[in-house]
């Protein structure tokens, strides 16, 4: 009997599966995204003299509202207009959802080698490369919709890619230089105590943070879906569950990028320091939870901006990215190189 349970546990916690599907992959992503959506709505409501979600489960402050929304989306009729490219129209959001989660395979959540789904030698590069895939499907979704607003929305997304992609990559590379390694595990291990890269290299951190906002349509860069010109941007023609997935995918992407940001800049699972002999709980679950909590806080801060900012114009956002944020990221990279040269870490 005990053998069966052990086998099941070892299957569930088989890193390639666990990491992608459960945590920090799909299941954790959905749970945290649902929490963050609720938090975002509640935060905005608090600032804005409102109550926000409430009537579904008043005791929990309306926390079940998002579940209710999800149910509603699932039972809504997904209308697929005649004029769309049906296959692409359906597949694009699904692909976007899946691709958004994939980078979690390359993100370690514990220093212990048996918890890694893939070898972590170049994990930073792999994770970065994987995060760059999903905009393609956003553009495809808009294009397949065959709607003028969708096409404009997709085009805007394509423009935004040029704005944030480079910034995000350069600013994350800034943490590789001092550590002399692309291994995320080593990067985390280098950040003991208060020597987090967010503090040592705030320029790169800020640049990466803004790049995440840009890439996931966070305020003030909610441009591709800007309601008042392009209705819902690439998602204009979507309805029902597909629309829910579209919307969720952006948040999942934000979540995954926040996890990456946590690992690279906020010291990952620090202050925990699992020793090689640690078991499942101490060696895998506990550091995982620390990472998720940190990532959630990052996302909560991003959510708060919704209540404070409007949206930039497309050209202003791109302009800002190239003129301010990119030099900032480069300066951050230079700082990283200096740290690396001096051997500060």
């Amino acid at each position: 009997m005990a053998g069966v349970v052990d086998t099941i546990i070892s299957w569930i916690f088989w890193p390639p599966l666990f990491q992608l599907v459960i945590a920090p992959g799909l299941v954790a992503a959905l749970a945290i995204v649902i929490f963050i959506l609720w938090f975002e709505r509640k935060t905005a409501a608090r600032v804005q003299m409102r109550v926000g979600p409430y009537n579904v489960s008043p005791r929990l402050g309306g926390a079940l509202q998002l579940i209710a929304d999800l149910i509603r989306y699932s039972f809504q009729e997904p209308i697929i207009p005649k004029t769309v490219d049906t296959a692409a129209f359906i597949l694009a959001p699904l692909a976007m959802l899946v691709i958004s989660v994939v980078p979690t395979a390359a993100i370690p959540v514990s220093p212990l080698p048996w918890t890694w789904p893939i070898p972590m030698e170049h994990s930073l590069l792999v994770a970065l490369a994987l995060t760059t895939l999903s905009p393609v499907f956003l553009v495809a979704a808009g294009w397949a919709s065959n709607n003028k607003f969708s096409v404009i929305g997709s085009t805007r997304e394509a423009f935004m890619v040029t704005a944030y992609e480079l910034v995000f990559i350069i600013s994350l590379l800034a943490v590789a230089a001092p550590v002399h390694s692309y291994n995320l595990v080593e990067i985390v291990e280098a950040q003991a105590g208060w020597r987090m890269f967010a503090i040592l290299n705030p320029l790169a951190f800020l640049a990466a943070f803004i790049a995440i906002l840009m890439s996931t349509s966070g305020f003030p860069f909610e441009i591709p879906e800007s309601e008042h010109e392009v209705v819902a941007g690439p998602f204009t023609e979507y309805s029902g569950l597909l629309y829910g997935i579209d919307m969720g995918a952006a948040y999942i992407k934000r979540y995954v990028m926040s996890v990456l940001l946590t690992i690279a800049f906020l010291g990952g699972w620090k202050p925990l320091d699992p020793q090689p002999g640690a078991g499942l709980l101490a060696g895998y679950i506990a550091p995982l939870v620390v990472v998720l909590v940190k990532a959630t806080i990052v996302m909560a801060v991003m959510s708060f901006f919704r209540a404070v900012y409007g949206r930039y114009r497309l050209d202003q956002a791109v302009d800002l990215a190239w003129r301010v944020i990119l030099p900032m990221a480069l300066a951050g990279y230079a700082l990283g190189l200096i740290y690396g040269y001096l051997g500060v870490i």
Partner: protein
Amino acid sequence: MPPRPSRRRVPPYGFLAAVKGNLGAIAVGLKYFLDPNRFTLHYPREYIRLKPGYRGFIVLNKAKCIMCESCARICPAAAMKMVRFQAPDPRRPGKMKLYKYPVINYQRCIFCGYCVDVCPTEALRHVPAHDVVYYNLEEMDLNLEQFQVEPKSPAEVEGGIPVRYVFDPERGLVKVPEKGQAGGG
């Protein structure tokens, strides 16, 4: 001193102001995040105790009505109509008399209150209810009996808490529950 123009310019804005602007916006946001100023009415668990003078639903006091038709004539939405019927005249036994009384059609009424204000005997009055609902359109066309019954707010019927909004120089409107005061205010 009579009204006069005053020419101004939008305050200039530089890099420092932008930094300050960012911080200021976030600070104001945080202030309300920590100390929200909300006055949402949780209808129907709560409902507003309407002030006297609120132009709510209208009831007829048939005893006071002198059948002058002013209310029907002034109604801008043609919501108020007169019903006419023959009935025995109480003062002249054995004789019939033509009675006419107003009835209201809430499908059309815009609650302008002209009818109440024009009625020379105060036979019409507003009741402090504005959220009465009907199941279908026909029901909204009241007959003479229904027009004399005071409609009740469904929230009040279902036991909601009456609240008032009071003005406050710091928070604008503040919602105060009203305890132990029965009857229309």
